[in-house]
Symmetry: C2
Subunit: 82 residues, 2 copies
C-alpha cells in the first residue's frame, strides 16, 4: 500500500519560507503570484499485512500525530492507494 | 487560480531524511513501513490575469525549473485549479 501524507502549516500560522519564495518569484519576473505556502510531502510504502483499510488509516493518523506533523501549528492529510 | 506544486527527489537519488523517518517510525513501534521518501509541496495562489490555462502552465513549469526544483536531482509535478 502506498500512502501520501501532506503536512502544511495551519492557515493562521505565518510562513516566512513561503513569503521568501513569493518575493523570489516576483524578482525573477513572474507576475501575478499572490501567495505561496510551503508544506511537506511524505510518500510511505506500507507492507501488505492483511490489515483493514481502517486500521491502516488509524496507523497513518498516529504516525502524523506522533512524528510527521506538529499538530499545534500544522495540519495533515493523507491519501491511501492499494 | 490555485496551483499545487510537488517537488520530489528522483527515484535514483538517495533520501537520507526519508530513511531517518523510516527508522524513527520503526522505533515508535509502527511495523510494516517499507520505505519513506520526503518531498516538498508549494501552494501557489495566482492572480486572475485572463491568461489561457496553457500560458499559466508554462509559467508554472518555468517557476519549477528556475526556482522551486533542482531538476538535476528532483522531479516536479503540478495541478492547477480554477
Amino acid at each position: 500500500m502506498h500512502a501520501t501524507v501532506t503536512v502544511e502549516l495551519k492557515p493562521s500560522v505565518l510562513d516566512p519560507q513561503g513569503k521568501a519564495i513569493e518575493h523570489s518569484l516576483s524578482s525573477l519576473g513572474f507576475a501575478g503570484v499572490e501567495d505561496v505556502r510551503v508544506g511537506k510531502l511524505f510518500r510511505i510504502s506500507l507492507a501488505e499485512s492483511g490489515q483493514t483499510r481502517e486500521n491502516v488509516e488509524t496507523q497513518l493518523r498516529q504516525m502524523c500525530e506522533r512524528l510527521l506533523a506538529n499538530t499545534v501549528i500544522e495540519k495533515f492529510s493523507y491519501t491511501l492507494e492499494e
